[in-house]
């Protein structure tokens, strides 16, 4: 079921979800996206450019962070009209323990055509995406 404009209010938290990313996940994303930058799978290369270790692709974090919104839309990703983020902090993915990212999705604005959903995406208690906003079209 797709939620309707009349069924939500500004400030409603529509979803909260934690996702586990591990090195296996990064390799799968590299293959699926074509982004084979070695800082996403080799600690030695990451260290030579001044990073503490392997990072998640920013686009992987962006791609995962919108999933709670797609689920809320009844799985209909075609209702997403606009999606933007700013990459503000890296997500370090430990070789053994991986990384958990938490997404809180809240209604930021409403109009006749739909809603703006604001995402708060955190890793280790710190925000990793800024101005993460999803514009969705909803039935009246």
């Amino acid at each position: 079921m797709t939620p309707a404009v009349g069924g939500v209010a500004v400030g409603d938290v529509i979803a909260e979800q934690t996702y586990h990313l591990d090195r296996d996940r990064l390799v799968r994303y590299a293959g699926a996206s074509g982004d084979f930058n070695p800082i996403h799978y080799r600690d030695d290369v990451a260290r030579t450019v001044g990073l503490p270790g392997v990072l998640a692709h920013g686009m992987l974090t962006m791609g995962v962070a919108v999933q709670p919104v797609v689920e809320w839309l009844g799985g209909d990703a075609g209702r997403i009209a606009d999606y933007q983020v700013r990459f503000t902090r890296p997500v370090l993915v430990d070789a053994d323990s991986g990384a958990d990212i938490t997404v809180v999705a809240k209604v930021g604005a409403l109009d006749d055509e739909g809603a703006r959903i604001d995402l708060t995406v955190t890793f280790g208690g710190e925000t990793v995406l800024g101005k993460a906003q999803v514009r969705v079209t909803l039935p009246a």
């Binding site: 074509g34 075609g78 990459f87």
Partner: protein, 148 residues
């Protein structure tokens, strides 16, 4: 070599047509933990009004990457890949991408700003179908770190 300030306004030729494959959509969906049946099951997608499986919202980055490669390969642009960090990203849709779409991407550098020695290069990649109709615009800002 620093980023060429005259890069602003430069456009690159359309990329070769990209045929969106059903298995590619499924692979990309699995990679970003997208579990909706609309990404995986053509019958579920058709029941929702689409002609085939629907690509996840960030899928156009696969086409954007081809246009960013044009920028990195342009020696006159002065964008050094080893100094590039992805600053922000936006997708603005006219319609969803589905398997079977044949898409081309045309990129224009919309802005070059220098801030504290770093260059911020913003590009807009317009992705269209064979009729020329707009599907999605992918806007990317790359931060190119200056010399230390």
């Amino acid at each position: 070599m620093p980023v060429n300030p005259e890069l602003q306004g430069r456009s690159y030729p359309a990329t070769a047509p990209y045929l969106v494959g059903r298995e590619k959509v499924r692979e990309f969906a699995r990679a970003v933990l997208a579990t909706s049946p609309l990404h995986h099951d053509p019958d579920a997608a058709r029941a929702a009004g689409y002609s085939d499986v629907v690509a996840p919202p960030t899928f156009p980055i696969v086409l954007t990457d081809a246009t960013l490669q044009q920028l990195l390969a342009d020696g006159d642009a002065g964008v050094d890949f080893s100094r590039v960090v992805h600053g922000d990203q936006r997708f603005t849709y006219s319609r969803a991408i589905v398997a079977g779409d044949e898409l081309v991407a045309r990129m224009t550098v919309t802005s070059v700003k220098v801030l504290a020695g770093n260059a911020m290069v913003t590009s807009a990649t317009e992705i269209t179908d064979p009729s020329g109709a707009h599907v999605v615009t992918s806007t990317s800002t790359l931060v190119v770190r200056g010399d230390e």
